[in-house]
């Protein structure tokens, strides 16, 4: 072995030893801030250059929409009234809320709801809502309530409403009517009611009240419909009494048991309401007397983590003291099924009858902080009389799914796609009930 090579190896080994024993652990970099970089934007790679054009083309609609929206938002942001309205909308149960709905005979309805608290006391509330629709439907309502006006949980409320619709659909009375024989009528209703409430226990509330209501019926005015009341009379065989303008007063008494753990996103408990109403016609309708009974029970069962099954049973009844036939009774006072009254796959007021029953099961599950998804199945039908023709046959059913927005005090908005043997329906409503 050459000496030079051996010497080199010895030197290398020595150097290695020095480096091992003299090594210092590095724990940072030498940050020399005199090494200054003149910032320079990096150029595009070939791939970026190739894809730049197609990407901008795809982005163009979004940019257009973006800058248009930006202009509107900035304009709104600079506008104090607009900011106030947005703040009110965002604030739960703010003084002003939008009241929007879609899905009835009236087409889209838009309006505003006003809420005020503490007008005459610490607990009282006043609310008012007005809505107008594409088809000139209009409805206005106001309610004042003071739940502890007389102390010991005894309160008082008064509310009034006015509705006017030009094109209420009429398909006949009973369970076996057909959707293709529709006719239309106009309706104008006014109702004022005052009631006394008593919070008997934590869950139980007793309610008694008196009301006055009036209904004016007129021809429907939608092109293509059979728009004569006479025609309705002819097609459906109704008697003249079924069309009379009615003026009614009523007195009612009932209770409401509410053992839900929350009125908003309920996961446990139930709600049971029962109301018996004695109705008497006045003036030319003084011969009209009947008793209305409303029963509605919903029960919530939590499966897990706010996934809830809701069972609902509803039964409404009209007991006519004169025992008038269905054809002679004012059809617009009959109990109804369809849309939000039950059987959401059918149009509003689709089924009319003295008696109506509904059973539904709804699965609600959280999809966001204040958003629930829901799927439901429901069955219902109307009868002439529970006692005479009640049967489990020929019940109508509908199913569907949707999303609802819930607040602390209840449902704020709901959108539903529902299906039945008469097709598909889309319903949207926004704005809490009083």
């Amino acid at each position: 072995m050459p000496k030079a090579f051996v010497l080199k190896r010895i030197i290398q080994t020595l150097l290695l030893l020095v480096m091992v024993t003299g090594s210092v652990a590095a724990n940072t970099y030498d940050i020399d801030t005199t090494r200054v970089r003149e910032p320079e934007r990096p150029g595009m790679t070939t791939a970026e250059k190739i894809l730049y054009g197609p990407t901008k083309l795809l982005q163009l609609p979004f940019y257009t929409l973006r800058y248009t929206t930006r202009g509107l938002i900035w304009a709104g942001y600079e506008s104090k009234p607009a900011r106030q309205i947005i703040a009110n909308i965002l604030a739960e149960r703010g003084p002003i809320e939008p009241a929007i709905s879609f899905g009835g005979n009236s087409g889209p309805r838009v309006g505003l709801r006003f809420n005020f608290a503490g007008l005459f006391g610490t607990n009282d509330r006043f609310g008012a809502v007005g809505q107008y629709s594409w088809y000139a439907y209009q409805n206005y309502a106001a309610r004042y309530e003071h739940p502890d006006m007389f102390g010991k949980g005894v309160g008082w409320a008064i509310n009034g409403s006015y509705d006017k619709g030009r094109r209420e659909l009429f398909l006949g009375v009973g369970n076996n009517t057909k959707p293709d024989t529709d006719a239309a009528f106009g309706r104008e209703s006014f109702r004022v009611r005052t009631d006394v409430t008593m919070q008997a226990t934590k869950w139980l509330k007793l309610i008694g009240g008196v009301a006055y209501e009036s209904h004016n019926i007129s021809d429907g005015d939608k092109d293509g419909d059979i728009d004569q009341l006479d025609s309705i009379q002819t097609v459906f065989g109704l008697q003249p009494e079924a069309f009379r303008k009615t003026r009614l007063w009523s007195a009612d008494f009932g209770f409401r048991m509410d053992w839900r753990n929350s009125p908003g996103r309920t996961t446990r408990g139930g709600l049971l309401g029962l109301d018996v109403e004695l109705v008497q016609g006045i003036n030319e309708n003084s011969d009209l007397k009947f008793v209305r009974i409303y029963g509605d029970w919903s029960q919530h069962f939590e499966l897990f983590k706010k996934r809830v099954l809701v069972f609902r049973f509803m039964a409404n009844s009209i007991d006519n003291t004169q025992d008038e036939s269905d054809e002679a009774f004012p059809f617009y006072l009959l109990n109804t099924l369809g849309s939000e009254q039950g059987l959401r796959g059918y149009r509003p007021d689709r089924f009319l009858g003295r008696e109506a029953a509904l059973a539904s099961v709804e699965y609600r599950y959280p999809i966001w902080l204040a958003l629930d998804g829901l799927v439901f199945f429901e069955e219902g039908r109307v009868f002439s009389s529970f006692t005479h023709d009640f049967t489990f046959e020929h019940w109508r059913y509908s199913t569907g799914f949707g999303i609802r927005m819930v607040g602390r005090y209840g449902e704020i908005a709901r959108t539903i796609l529902a299906f039945s043997d008469e097709g598909m329906r889309f319903d949207f409503s926004m704005g809490m009930e009083f």
């Binding site: 940072t28 970099y29 791939a47 990407t55």
Partner: protein, 570 residues
């Protein structure tokens, strides 16, 4: 083939080529001047105007238009699919950040003492509590109460408070988070926790505020009391508050995308700034869910006769367990304010998936609020709404943030917690455990995916080269040193194979190896005497990591190697 088919073929081919090209990514050109440690973005600029932000617009555009335009960015999506996303533009050749008007290397590369960390950014030490304070501007409306005061030295502060029923919650979290962001390198205002008695407040002359209709209302003692009714009052009648210095010469918030066109120093699109991309992970660490344009500020500062914009983060009151005026919600950090993906998934699966926020951990300490580490997953943490810079964070950006966060050891975290002045020892211990666990989860996630070798140092010459480095996973106790093996390659040739190292970590390259390497670049024109070494790491699981790629410049006249580049390969 039809004409239509030909077009489709051409487009498909272009896309395929682009996809292949996209996989390549950028490779910076290295020089012996690398790495740079300062960006020249503090050049003298004229006075810039104040540009107001728009909360509503930001909340709308971020989750909608920004997401949509990103969604159709073909290159971006291809790069993401191939795991070669655009790297940040403003990193240096060591995969680090140079100092700039946005960022200053602090604890990670310039270790701070626990005392320095506890002090945080120091301007004048907080308001003078020995004299009376003058309220000169109230904050009457809004969700969180507050007002601006001047102490007897004339220094101005904005005071923020704890929510009723949660003593120390809002003030401590803001103070702690501010310290963390400062230690990690961001510009923040000075924030100090002090107490005062309401009787020591005077109301300045002619102080007014605007009500909801915009009318000017005189600010009175009653109005002041109404503000104080909404804050937590201590048993002794004093009020604990966070005194935040007013940032000077504010010019409006910065954006998490684009550039400020009127600022010639603003050279880098914000979504391509590493400090803003990686901010996502710092925010995840302290659950700064409320990060948004509006919680930042550009300030025109003067230094050495130059006037330029410096960029600040501010308002840390909605971090950790504090929701500002209430407890932090369990959803915060798990999901955006409105997350269309999560909503859609839940809706379509009928709520089958139980999200982590649906099983909230209990709140053990009111002064800590809802802050936990059990359900924390750094990779899936989400801010209030998607921010383009956050969306662009690559693994390398995340790894960089992770090593900065991991540099905060327990003593450092104790110093942070001390700044929060939590009176309950149990709360302090809980906070330490929580922060340490979140930190380690961040480290574990990113150090598993990026080869966490750092602080390379070369010693020797062409006859023998020693490479010292620190294995951060070992250093921070995430893995044992005995579990680790290292391998060095050059141009596909293994130079060192499956070797453990003692602590401190070091590897040797022999003269034969180095001569062979030298020959490989001697054949070139000699201008770029540069070669690459790749170091891979293997743990007990037997898998070799992605390499750390070292770029060494050989100076033949000095027989010296210079480390000019470090790349942590994704």
């Amino acid at each position: 083939m039809s004409k239509y088919g030909q077009y489709i073929s051409i487009v498909s081919l272009a896309l395929a080529l682009s996809l292949v090209a996209a996989c390549g990514g950028h490779r910076p050109t290295l020089t012996p001047e690398d790495p740079h440690w300062k960006d020249a973005d503090d050049k003298d600029t004229p006075e810039l105007e104040f540009k107001e932000g728009n909360l509503v617009w930001d909340a709308l555009r971020r989750p909608t238009f920004d997401q949509a335009t990103q969604g159709v960015d073909i290159y971006r999506n291809m790069a993401h699919l191939t795991g070669s996303g655009r790297q940040a533009w403003n990193i240096n050749s060591y995969d680090e950040l140079p100092n700039s008007s946005w960022y200053t290397n602090r604890h990670h590369l310039n270790p701070m003492s626990p005392e320095e960390i506890q002090r945080g950014y120091f301007q004048n030490g907080g308001p003078d509590t020995t004299g009376r304070w003058e309220v000169f501007r109230p904050k009457v409306g809004g969700v969180t109460p507050g007002f601006w005061i001047k102490d007897r030295n004339g220094d101005a502060y904005i005071l923020k408070f704890d929510p009723p029923g949660y003593p120390e919650l809002g003030t401590s979290t803001a103070a702690m988070s501010g310290r963390i962001f400062y230690a990690c390198g961001y510009n923040v205002p000075e924030e100090t926790i002090v107490s005062f008695h309401p009787d020591s407040l005077d109301i300045g002359s002619d102080v007014t505020y605007k009500d909801e209709t915009g009318a000017k209302i005189p600010f009175t003692r009653e109005t002041l009391n109404s503000i104080l009714e909404r804050v937590n009052i201590q048993d002794d009648g004093r009020v604990r508050c966070l005194a935040s210095t007013l940032l000077p010469n504010v010019r409006g918030p910065f954006s998490f995308s684009g550039r400020r066109k009127d600022d010639p120093n603003d050279w880098c699109d914000h979504e391509h700034r590493r400090e803003l991309r990686a901010l996502r992970l710092f925010c995840a660490f302290v659950n700064h869910w409320d990060i948004k344009d509006d919680n930042s500020m550009n300030c025109q500062v003067e230094e050495d006769g130059r006037s330029f914009l410096r960029h600040y983060l501010m308002d840390f009151g909605t971090t950790m367990g504090s929701g500002g005026y209430r407890l932090q919600l369990p959803t915060r950090g798990h999901t955006n304010f409105f997350d269309i993906n999560d909503v859609g998934f839940s809706f379509l699966t009928l709520g089958a998936k139980v999200w982590p926020w649906e099983n909230p951990e209990p709140v053990f300490h009111p002064s800590v609020g809802y802050f936990e580490a059990e359900t924390f997953k750094p990779q899936s943490w989400k801010p209030g709404y998607p921010l383009p810079a956050f969306e662009n964070m690559t693994l390398r950006d995340g790894y960089w943030a992770a090593k900065v966060i991991m540099s905060l050891r327990d003593d450092d975290l104790r110093a942070v917690i001390a700044a929060g002045k939590l009176s309950d020892e149990g709360a302090r211990d809980y906070m330490l455990r929580t922060l340490a666990t979140r930190r380690d989860k961040i480290g574990e996630y990113y150090f598993k995916r990026i080869n966490a070798l750092e602080f390379f140092k070369l010693t020797g010459d062409i006859s023998s080269l020693r490479i010292d480095f620190v294995d951060l996973s070992v250093k921070y106790g995430l893995v044992g040193s005995s579990e680790s093996r290292y391998e060095v390659e050059h141009a596909g040739t293994e130079l060192i194979n499956d070797r453990p190292t003692d602590s401190p970590n070091h590897l040797f390259l022999s003269a034969d190896d180095l001569l062979a390497i030298k020959e490989s670049f001697d054949t070139r024109d000699g201008k770029d005497n540069i070669f690459e070494l790749e170091i891979e790491t293997r743990r007990d699981d037997g898998k070799w990591s992605n390499p750390v790629r070292l770029s060494l410049w050989y100076h033949p006249e000095e027989d010296r190697f210079q480390l000019v580049g470090i790349e942590h390969v994704e």
